[in-house]
Symmetry: C2
Subunit: 677 residues, 2 copies
């Protein structure tokens, strides 16, 4: 006999209404569909908290819930449980593009309504959705007599980990971006962290903290307050508060992914998507997942410049060369940065000269768009705001209209700021500064998406707000940066170390696609080497998911590595299914992904500064079918430092019954295409 | 182009013959077949050392080689390299019984001959065999003018780990057995450890230290001398030295298994077998791997006694009951402890009253053997020495002859000592005491095996010397104890904690089979609970390998758990193939094993005190074939402490393309039989 999955402790509900119990009482509880996770809501002297157990063992100790509100003080005591409701949900939905075509959304939900027992008798809901591999919860404020609007000075939500752990994290609240190398420290040494933050206990439990559906609210940082206890710290607004909202509203979902292995942790990321609202754009078949090339790496190498003049990259002739290269090798997109006026001065943090509807004189955008179209290629737009965000908002409708007319159906946006942050123009014309992940800029990104969608344009945001799964609701938000990408290989000091991508997979990538811009087969930045082997560059196309995926190196460099380049030409950017075959946070990972448009599978495996031998059963392949495995591997003696170009390509027949031995060099990787026969 | 796998640096050989280079010089090097591991032999001012690299990164920093010899002092300086030889070897051999029917032995070998440049100009070889997943090396002393015999006071072999690590280990040199709970500490907190000792670096490299082919030599302990540097410390002989040997001789192999995951570490254990000599017993088909029951758990519960009298377990009537139970449920063996005279006094550490050729008056061994035979059952012998080992040696030939006559083809031996250790009678009749793993007792075990083999008897040694893979050479050494077994669940203080078996798998079990005696479905010891769920007891039959595997609980207890007992009846004790599907040292592990005598597969998965959700692709199954999965799992809400009996059995069809989700309760497990259709 299964015990009931939802058991609300109605008996103590009346009890909780009496003001002062001495000990915390569990007033409601909900278990995941297969009884793996359990959430309990406690009341203790009118304060509400929650705790999480897994197989009967604590994962999150009792943690507070509540708010500091402007004017009316704390909303976290004198609370009584006045209503509960439960729900079981099991639905599989289809993604227009993504890592998996079908996503199952299977949870049990508990809604608990808390009401103050004294004036002003405010009321709010806490809603928990409990999956076997994670939890989401949010606050909901219904319409009520006690308030029309809330100004939130702080969210008091806590996350108190039961066990010591190692944490992988980047600092929050210091700089207006996410472009840090990941720290690996004891949990007790975390200060204030961005999400996703990933931790692993000594006993191998993996937990990732993040949020879903960050809409009209401030982004959440995690501030360690004591021991293993963290508190949600919201990104501030320029007005001094954190969030201002009219009732009714819901907060974003606070999410915990909980799994036994790094691989399972990655696969539990469906939670983020599931907690977002369904597609509100309707048919988005106008977006085509695809690879692209472009005038980009040459700029980071300083061989060419964004600014006009002798080294200007975005010229008609140079772009034509890239269009030809794209057409010849089957790339759909050609990104051109520096195509528009505004780059010639001190533009970053001061992008008021940018014009998004006009090209520079040496860039014949009309002729190039027509030429691209004749060759089956699309230009990719570039909207660097230099952080003059209101300035950009004023032009974006016209810009997207022009994009649509010219067949430019993907636009890369950019928000390169100085230390001050995002520039927002107030009604009086004065400029104030906002955090990238504050409430105002969260709203900006959605305004861009809505404006772009009207013209069937997809957005790939750089220096963006973090990904909270809004691509489910706005499927034209196809990718973003939001971490240290390949350009740090050109000029980073330090450059990205060999462990960087193995960190990213289990932290940043839990949140969604990243436009990492891999494929630098020359392995050479601006006077510094890129710290991977050549095979690892190929593997990144499978490992780091993005539906717009760049072949970032120069055409002339690809010409010198045509054997390896073949994999970049072959690998798709849209998948029917994804499996994480193995991995450890920060150490290594192997992905298998099935092409959405053929029966082929692709494998990508990467490691950090240590070589690895990994046995990979090919059980993901269709049983009974034969495949040709086209293997791109580190050559004997390969090493990211000494011998990064040692590289072998080989080919043999396999079936789902075979086991492949991957030998990854230090800093190396392996890519495989399995061609179905 | 592959580079040559073996490259001896002949150029520096001459150089090394010159006495005093200032820096260490690499004088010879050998790489593993796929270039994963490399061993370098260095000379530095006449001292010899070795180092190990993996994918070009150090695993073992330069570590000393050599000996302290009685009379002639250190053999470790003034050395010159006088010869080198290399060999590549690749052979697959068949085990008469085991975890895998076929074992591949694929290595590159380097033999380096070192000779003293000054008198007495002794010479010895160091032989390295380098596999992709480990290394074995040993010393060889050829016949030479300088010495006829060596008395070894100490072996100076070092193991200097390159990186910090966590170690799983039990202390050596304190007590005359291996029955400890495993420590998990930083490597830098290890004192002196038994082997196998397993370590995991921060970057996930797993290394296990052990030895192979411990013949006529003292067992090796690992003493930490400084930082991450260990030195071989040999178990002492009663004479005061460690080892005395006539030339020529080889030492045992010092082994390092090196892998990227806990699962791969387990699978690398073939190394231990491969470094042993082939079967010298010829046809051993007279040994039949099988399960057994017996008069054993009742003794540990103190419901019955080894001693004669009212509670004597080994009576004719009681044994007949066990024979009937065995026959009814398909068990081949019935172990009877306390069957012979010697148990009535203070026998442990004082086993001079034991008689191995005569039964107690209430145990009609002749009639019982005949009755067992009539029911298709074999009695299993029991030779508890009480540590009077010479006393036992005097009788063992007669005892094995009697065993053979009575169809008793497996004998469990025992060496329960007091603190003094193994009792050895000297020629003058006086008694001296030896370590379990000293040179003399290493020899004793082989004398038992040879005497037993003459009568087609297989040996299952308890309180034994550690396993160093000698079952390859003596395939009648079928199992042993050598760690804390299930009896600690009856009376252990503390009892075996939930993590115990997950520690054993990746430490003790790397060395070979263990007679753990699982299957206590009553989960009840002597006034204390066994710290597992019922499903975990079943899973142990697949997880802890032994070709003689006990169903250790009382018949009346099995009668109360017939649904779970069915798995114990079905599971075989001999395998065609073994795969470790996942695992972390001390946390959890999942095995799949194929029956050697059918097309069925079995799966066993266990966890420590934490529940786990594990996704297991069934890719080990034969593609295209349908199987009925008979699942024995933890029930909802199961927990080793609160609800250990929550248990479910279910059955469904699967193929190799399916993925099974295992949900293991805290302290739980899961067992599956896949019945081929």
């Amino acid at each position: 006999m299964r015990r009931p999955v939802l058991s609300i402790v109605h008996a103590v509900l009346a009890c909780a209404l009496l003001a002062s119990a001495v000990h915390a009482e569990t007033v409601a509880t909900v278990a995941s569909p297969n009884d793996v996770l359990t959430v309990e809501i406690d009341l203790h002297e009118g304060r509400v908290g929650y705790r999480v157990e897994r197989f009967g063992e604590p994962v999150i100790e009792t943690s507070a819930l509540g708010f500091m509100l402007r004017g009316s003080g704390k909303l976290e005591r004198n609370l009584a449980l006045t209503d509960t409701a439960t729900r079981s949900f099991d639905q599989t939905w289809e993604q227009p593009w993504g890592e998996d075509r079908h996503v199952r959304n299977h949870y049990n939900e508990l809604r608990a309504t808390l009401t103050e027992t004294v004036a002003p008798r405010r009321t709010f809901d806490i809603v928990f959705r409990v999956y076997d591999d994670g939890i989401g919860f949010r606050y909901g404020f219904p319409e009520q007599a006690a308030a029309d609007e809330l100004i939130i000075d702080d969210e008091l939500t806590e996350f108190a980990l039961a066990d010591p752990a190692t944490a992988w994290w980047i600092p929050a609240g210091e700089w207006n971006r996410y472009e840090y190398l990941y720290n690996r420290t004891p949990l007790s040494e975390v200060t204030t962290a961005h999400t996703p933050m990933t931790v692993r206990t000594e006993d191998g439990l993996h937990i990732a903290f993040h949020e879903a559906a960050l809409v009209d609210y401030a982004g959440m940082w995690l501030r360690r307050t004591d021991g293993r206890r963290f508190r949600a710290q919201l990104a501030p607004a320029s007005e001094g508060w954190k969030v201002r909202r009219t009732l009714p509203f819901n907060t974003p979902w606070r999410t915990l992914q909980i799994a036994d292995s790094a691989a399972a942790l990655y696969e539990s990321s469906d939670l983020i998507l599931n907690l977002n609202e369904p597609n509100r754009l309707g048919d988005v078949s106008w977006f085509t997942p695809a690879k692209y090339v472009g005038i980009w790496w040459s700029l980071h190498l300083e061989d060419e410049s964004w600014a006009t003049g002798a080294r200007h990259g975005a010229t008609t002739a140079n772009t034509k060369r890239y269009v030809d290269f794209a057409a010849e090798h089957g790339f759909r997109g050609v990104l051109v940065e520096g195509w528009n006026p505004g780059w010639d001065g001190q533009w970053f943090g001061n992008g008021y000269d940018f014009d998004f509807t006009r090209a520079t004189p040496d860039f014949d955008i009309e002729a190039l768009s027509a030429y691209a179209k004749s060759r089956g290629v699309h230009l990719i737009g570039h909207h660097e705001t230099g952080c003059a965000v209101s300035h950009y908002e004023e032009q974006m409708a016209d810009a997207f209209a022009m994009n649509q007319r010219l067949g430019i159906d993907v636009v890369k946006t950019g928000y390169v700021c100085d230390a001050g942050g995002i520039e927002r123009r107030l009604p009086d014309g004065s400029i104030t500064r906002e955090w990238h992940d504050g409430q105002w800029n969260a709203g900006h990104h959605l305004r861009v998406l809505e404006a772009a969608a009207k013209h069937h344009v997809a957005i790939n945001a750089h220096e963006p707000i973090k990904d909270t799964g809004l691509r489910r609701t706005y499927p034209n938000w196809v990718s973003r940066e939001g971490a240290r990408g390949m350009e740090y290989g050109a000029w980073g000091n330090p450059t990205n170390p060999p462990e960087h991508e193995a960190n990213l997979v289990f932290t940043r990538m839990l949140s969604g696609p990243m436009d990492y811009t891999p494929g630098i087969l020359s392995l050479q930045g601006r006077g510094q080497a890129i710290q991977t082997t050549i095979a690892k560059q190929l593997a990144l196309y499978v490992v780091l998911y993005s539906p717009v995926q760049m072949a970032a190196d120069l055409p002339e460099n690809y010409a010198r590595h045509m054997e390896a380049f073949q994999f970049i030409k072959d690998v798709p950017a849209d998948w029917a299914r994804t499996e994480v075959l193995n991995g450890e946070v920060g150490d290594y990972v192997t992905f298998a992904r099935k092409d959405r448009n053929s029966a082929d599978w692709y494998l990508g495996s990467i490691t950090d500064e240590h070589g690895r031998v990994l046995q990979v059963p090919l059980s993901f392949l269709e049983p009974g079918r034969r495949y040709t495995a086209q293997v791109y591997r580190d050559g004997d003696g390969a090493h990211w430092q000494d011998a990064p170009f040692a590289f072998e390509r080989e080919s043999f027949e396999v079936t789902s019954a075979d086991v492949l031995t991957l030998r990854l060099a230090a800093g190396g990787g392996q890519a495989v295409r399995f061609v179905a026969q």
